[in-house]
């Protein structure tokens, strides 16, 4: 049986190194752990890319809804894709400068609703959802009024920022998944 000279072993020295080692390990773990956590939370701080799209000159608007089909690029991660969206714009009153812009996406399950001028209503064919000119629900299953987009008027032209709106629908978790922004 071999015996060993342990006179070099000093418990205090070992305790010191033990603590040092723990500190060093903690430091190394933080060096990898903190960037890893920052990386993981990135979707939370992802900035909303603003994306103004022109609808047209403001003169062409009356107090009746006018249909616009807009196309714009969106980016999710590294994938850039073109989106198509249908909007209705009108003046709040015949000679008002106040503009109202509404989405045609039915708040029930996301079908496209359309303006029926002769009936003075928006009609969604999927489950007979009916809205008035203000977008208020007057019949059928839709739970809330049609969504509005903030109108941006500049130099006599009307713009909207549809990316704002897309984020908003995602947040409200429209029934029917992605809130189908494709033209239907």
């Amino acid at each position: 049986m071999n015996k060993v000279d342990l006179s070099g072993y000093d418990p205090k020295r070992r305790a010191f190194f033990r603590r040092g080692l723990m500190l060093l390990s903690g430091l190394l773990a933080a060096l990898v752990g903190i960037p890893a956590i920052a990386f993981l939370i990135e979707p939370l701080v992802e900035k909303i890319r603003s994306n103004e799209v022109e609808l047209g000159p403001i003169e062409e608007l009356t107090d009746r809804p006018r249909k616009y089909v807009i196309r714009f690029m969106t980016q999710t991660g590294w994938v850039k894709s073109e989106k198509v969206m249908t909007l209705y714009a009108r003046r709040a009153a015949p000679d008002s400068d106040e503009v109202v812009v509404m989405s045609n996406i039915c708040t029930h399950l996301g079908c496209p609703a359309r303006w029926e001028d002769e009936n003075d209503r928006f009609f969604c064919p999927c489950h007979d959802g009916i809205y008035d000119i203000e977008g208020r629900v007057i019949g059928g299953p839709p739970p809330r009024p049609l969504d509005r987009l903030k109108p941006i008027v500049r130099d006599g032209y009307l713009f909207v920022d549809p990316t704002d709106y897309i984020h908003q629908i995602d947040e409200e978790k429209l029934l029917g998944g992605k809130g189908s922004t494709e033209e239907g």
Binding site: M1, K3, V4, D5, L6, V32, P35, A36, A38, W78
Partner: protein, 256 residues
């Protein structure tokens, strides 16, 4: 040397028993249930042989540490990476240039860690192998540890080779073209092997997906498994000594 103090391990254990467990808190709670010191002292607190030579014995652990860093940063990158010819380059570019948190280029940092980590791992594994060679630690009874080490060396090279293709840029593409052609020059098995590795006669989307599968599924699983076996052997046989042969560990094993 005084008689009757037991083996070196027992004496070291005795010294380590002086470690104080705090009177409350998580460590106390755990130690009350199982005295983790038995594990820590036995497996994490082993003295390293030699004086300054001892530092060479840390190289394997350093390689294992870098492997862990690669695993963590690799999983993170996989969350944003797309292994298709259309997506690979774009997604890597996105990670490097657009993935930011409050303006801080976190994607660039994580990719950088994985990139430099791969080089560091090759160097550390190489140095570790040289230390085993120069200390003669591969000799009986440690041949199997060495052979497993050879596998680990191959896996490490495999990580580097398959990982290099993933950004799918010109450098990656042509490096893999050259690499797989070199493989093709092997007698008899070369050509079939090349076709299998490429997923076809030519480099294509098939090459990218299979390199990705090898890089993130096959190699991590195999490497983890064999590192565990490698470490188990080192622990079962005890670490070899230095050529001075006077360190406590060897003496305790009675084989200096």
């Amino acid at each position: 040397m005084d008689e009757g103090r037991g083996t070196a391990e027992e004496q070291i254990r005795q010294l380590n028993a002086d470690v104080k467990i705090p009177p409350r808190g998580l460590v106390h709670w755990l130690a009350e249930r199982f005295d983790y010191r038995a594990f820590v002292i036995k497996d994490l607190d082993k003295p390293v042989p030699g004086d300054w030579w001892g530092w060479f014995f840390t190289l394997g652990t350093a390689a294992a540490g870098i492997f862990l860093v690669q695993a963590i940063t690799g999983v993170l990158l996989a969350m944003y990476y797309a292994a298709t010819p259309e997506g690979a380059y774009e997604s890597v570019k996105y990670i490097s240039e657009e993935l930011k948190v409050w303006g801080f280029p976190i994607g660039h940092l994580i990719r950088g860690m994985h990139f430099w980590g791969s080089t560091a791992m090759i160097i550390l594994v190489g140095l570790h192998m040289l230390r085993v060679l120069f200390f003669g630690s591969y000799k009986k009874p440690r041949e199997v540890t060495w052979l497993i080490g050879v596998l680990l060396l191959i896996f490490t090279a495999g990580f580097a080779f398959t990982g290099y293709l993933l950004p799918w840029d010109q450098k990656a593409y042509w490096a893999t073209q050259v690499g797989t052609n070199i493989l093709g020059t092997l007698p008899v098995i070369g050509q079939p092997l090349k076709v299998i590795i490429r997923g076809g006669q030519e480099m294509s989307a098939m090459t990218l997906t299979r390199f990705y599968a090898i890089h993130v599924l096959i190699l991590p699983a195999l490497t983890t498994l064999f590192i565990l076996a490698h470490l188990a052997l080192v622990r079962m046989q005890g670490i070899s000594g230095t050529w001075r042969g006077k360190d406590p560990v060897d003496a305790a094993k009675g084989e200096a």
